[in-house]
């Protein structure tokens, strides 16, 4: 899967699930401090990843993801590995 496809899926999910504006989502946007996503929301992101990209995510892994770019990279790396 191309990185652009991954970015589109992630952005569409963030916009739809958390009613965010597209311009709020930038590479260096902080998931917790700027988008104000809570740990409960990260559970939704884990579920999205498992559903859309087909790999399991340990909760401890997602804790390390801080920015939107880190989220793209995390998914891209794991998708390309499999």
């Amino acid at each position: 899967m191309k990185e652009q496809d991954i970015i589109k899926i992630v952005n569409d999910f963030l916009i739809d699930e958390f009613e965010l504006e597209p311009e709020q989502i930038k590479d260096d946007t902080l998931l917790r401090d700027e988008l104000e996503l809570e740990s409960l929301d990260l559970v939704d992101i884990i579920v999205l990843i498992e559903r859309e990209f087909g790999f399991k995510v340990e909760p401890t892994e997602i804790v390390k993801v801080n920015t939107v770019r880190e989220l793209y990279d995390f998914i891209t790396e794991r998708v390309n590995k499999s």
């Binding site: 965010l20 740990s39 409960l40 559970v43 909760p59």
Partner: protein, 299 residues
């Protein structure tokens, strides 16, 4: 701001001592013995003493003498609550009587949607948990892993025949959130405290008895995130062998997806929780069992 360290004083040894006294001498003897234990703690637990005295003197504006007297009463009441827990385990619960305010609300939750019950470290949450057995529904008690580890054997025994599951909150681990989501999807009940948090977790600062204190955000986010009703519950000790269980009418807030809207509602929910808690504590000032610098104001 100072916060709860995640450690709870006392443990299995304390429980075993009470079990021994209860078994051979009965509840009244255990209460008598407790007076000496209280004296020990008044002298050798200065941090707990200061925290309790601060609450009574600075937040409830009791006079110094009355505050001192109520610190003793608080320690004694906590000891009684611990003894009562053990008495319940030993099958002596028939000696106790109860009043229920709001049981019908919880029955409604149990029968229809499931929901979140937010409690507090005041009165006895274990007795509250025991009383929830009457609902005949699955209750998931959310607690800190460290707290659970210290009294695991005790809890297992306390709830061995009951429809109770423990969901443990660990550090840097979200597995408890998946379990909470699953339980609510199955229309079960989640019971969680709304007054303590671990370092590094999200908090909200709110006025509580005239001065801002920190409260965990998590318990108040759960009902919004999963679109389920919430009720504030507590079981307060009224006389030696009488408890009063309180449950507020379940309230279902909107379930906004946008974090800004959600934060607004979390604040409203927390304010309602605090208002309810203040009313209860004014009635039972000797049952506030958070023995640390809750307001971050002790010099």
């Amino acid at each position: 701001m100072p916060q709860w360290t995640g450690k709870t004083r006392g443990g299995i040894a304390g429980y075993k001592s009470f079990v021994f006294i209860l078994k051979y001498f009965g509840i009244s003897s255990a209460y008598f013995f407790l007076r000496f234990v209280v004296l020990y703690f008044l002298i050798f637990a200065p941090k707990a003493f200061k925290a309790s005295y601060y609450f009574l003197n600075k937040r409830l504006h009791f006079s110094p003498f009355k505050s001192f007297r109520y610190v003793s009463k608080t320690f004694y009441k906590l000891g009684q609550v611990l003894i009562d827990k053990v008495a319940f385990l030993s099958g002596l619960n028939k000696n106790y009587t109860f009043d229920f305010d709001g049981e019908e609300h919880l029955r409604q939750l149990a029968d229809e949607t499931g929901g979140v019950l937010i409690g507090v470290h005041a009165g006895s949450w274990e007795i509250a948990g025991h009383l929830l057995k009457r609902l005949n529904t699955k209750i998931n008690i959310v607690m800190f892993a460290d707290e659970h580890e210290r009294i695991e054997g005790f809890l297992t025994q306390m709830y061995k025949d009951k429809n109770v599951n423990f969901i443990l909150i660990g550090k840097n681990d979200y597995s408890h959130l998946f379990q909470i989501a699953e339980a609510l999807k199955n229309r079960e009940m989640i019971a969680i405290h709304g007054d303590r948090f671990l370092p590094g977790t999200n908090t909200l600062s709110k006025e509580f008895f005239g001065k801002n204190a920190l409260f965990p955000a998590g318990p108040f986010l759960i009902p919004l995130k999963y679109n389920v009703p919430v009720s504030f519950v507590m079981a307060m000790k009224e006389t030696s062998k009488h408890y009063h269980f309180y449950a507020t009418p379940p309230k279902k807030f909107q379930s906004p997806k946008n974090p800004d809207d959600r934060n607004r509602l979390v604040n409203i929910m927390l304010e309602e929780y605090i208002e309810n808690l203040e009313n209860i504590l004014m009635k039972y000032p000797d049952q506030w069992f958070n023995f640390y610098d809750f307001w971050g104001d002790i010099k």
